[in-house]
């Protein structure tokens, strides 16, 4: 039963990783940018919600109502002011730009909030601690189920948006050939800015769930970026449903590793990532990216 519990908890944890990864996947799929500040943006969102929660005594989930539009706008402005220029500088410039942005965000958060660790778990009420007891050795936490359901909804919603809406069509067209998209009247830069806005909003959602589930501080971003990146690669670069799958594989690997020995938890996730990267599947994914395939 320990193994069953490990797999179930891994799937629930995978929901969080998928939520972290979907914005990264979207930005890579549409713009070919690996946003190295993605984890720090998630933590920035968590700090924004933490500020609203402590100042106004709000439940963190209610605090998401004002925080998400703020982060959407921030994402849009971020692209218009920083990323759009760096995209014109070739493939390496956005990497350097987002790396710099990550450092700026971390230091700004340290300056504004100090290095103390904090959590939103206490403010979230019973949902952060409650669970359904299935058997003596298996239980499902409310929060884990909520995170997984949110991940499925967000990824499903994004997939639906990409497949069924006019904006989604524009986004897929721009992802496939931005130059030609502009030649049929699509403002590629505006499409990119909206994709960035969505990615930043989903990162915020993930950051808040992380903050409710455990602890966070100004330097939590890079670790989450690594997990998100691993989930994206395992699931297939730029594929949204693949990202959910990748998050679950990573989560299950970590919980099974922890069941064997607690110190193997993170290592097991990294090993699965490396195995996938070295496998024919991983090599074919990288080849697909070179051919310009997208979501």
């Amino acid at each position: 039963m320990n193994w069953v519990n490990a797999i179930v908890q891994g799937i629930l944890l995978g929901g969080l990783y998928a939520l972290f990864a979907c914005g990264l996947s979207l930005m890579f799929g549409v713009m070919r940018i690996i946003n190295l500040a993605h984890g720090d943006i998630a933590v920035l969102g968590a700090f924004l919600v933490w500020s609203l929660t402590t100042r106004f005594g709000m439940n963190p989930f209610w605090a998401l109502v004002p925080a998400l539009p703020v982060m959407l706008i921030l994402g849009y402005v971020l692209h218009r002011t920083v990323l759009a220029r760096s995209l014109r500088g070739g493939p390496l410039t956005p990497l350097l730009t987002t790396f710099g942005l990550a450092i700026v965000i971390q230091n700004a958060l340290l300056q504004a909030y100090n290095p103390d660790v904090r959590s939103l778990g206490g403010a979230a009420g019973g949902i952060a601690t409650g669970s359904w007891r299935i058997t003596d050795q298996l239980s499902l936490s409310y929060l884990g189920a909520l995170i997984l359901a949110t991940a499925v909804l967000v990824l499903g919603g994004l997939q639906l948006m990409l497949r069924r809406t006019a904006f989604g069509r524009e986004m897929r067209a721009t992802a496939q050939d931005a130059d030609t998209a502009t030649l049929v009247g699509v403002p590629a830069s505006s499409v990119y800015a909206r994709a960035t806005a969505i990615a930043v909003a989903t990162a915020t959602l993930a950051g808040v769930f992380l903050a409710v589930r455990s602890i966070f501080d100004a330097s939590s971003g890079p670790t989450q970026l690594i997990f998100a990146f691993e989930a994206v690669v395992i699931g297939g670069l730029g594929s949204l449903w693949g990202t959910l799958w990748g998050g679950m594989v990573l989560g299950v690997a970590q919980t099974i590793g922890a069941t064997i020995d607690p110190q193997y938890s993170i290592l097991a996730g990294h090993l699965v990532f490396l195995i996938v990267l070295a496998s024919p599947h991983g090599r074919s994914l990288l080849a697909l990216r070179r051919e310009g395939r997208t979501t």
Partner: protein
Amino acid sequence: MTLLRAENVEARHGLLPAVRGISFGIAEGEVLALIGANGAGKTTLLRTLAGAHPLTNGQITYDGSDLAGIPAHQRVRRGIAYVPEGRRLFPELTVEENLLVAGRRAQPGPWHLESVLAAFPALGPLRDRPAAKLSGGQQQATAIARALMTNPRLLMIDEVSLGLSPKAVEEVYACMTVLRDSGATVVLVEQDLGRALSTSDRVVCLLEGRIVLDADTEGLSREEVVTAYFGFHQARRS
């Protein structure tokens, strides 16, 4: 009435001049064939007019207003459509999705999904097929249909028949008849001189980035065109 006028247009690839001080105009409703050997500057000229390539020098006026600083997607909304060389469809989008992407921000006009599919009946059964799975001729027809979805006043088609089978070329030129009947102003780049002369009202021939022939097709001999095309001597008529 002149719909588009280029005055001393220059464009470069890096330091290499590709278009050197070209001046010409296109009248509304005219079908103009742009011909020239490989590297003559035809594609660069069209891309510059479409806003996809930077203008180094000169001026482009369209419908009386200067196009300087206007990006490609806004030129499309003003009625300038460009079908790029190699069709450049969105390969994973279906035929219908390729058309709808172009139609979303178009000016109101006669062309919409149903009218375009009626004008190109061969595309109707293919509307749910990904563009990557179309034949060359079907792709070119879709590319022209996609450009029509923007309700253009000026349609520029690069390398109309390049890489197509003879049957596909026939299909594509059937599309050209639709364009001519609709009264559209068309600039087409065509390597097949016979096709170019029979389809167009006027021929402009480029050689090494300069216009060496600008003449009405009526009364123009094939020898004059070939002479200009290969640069045996520079001829200019109007």
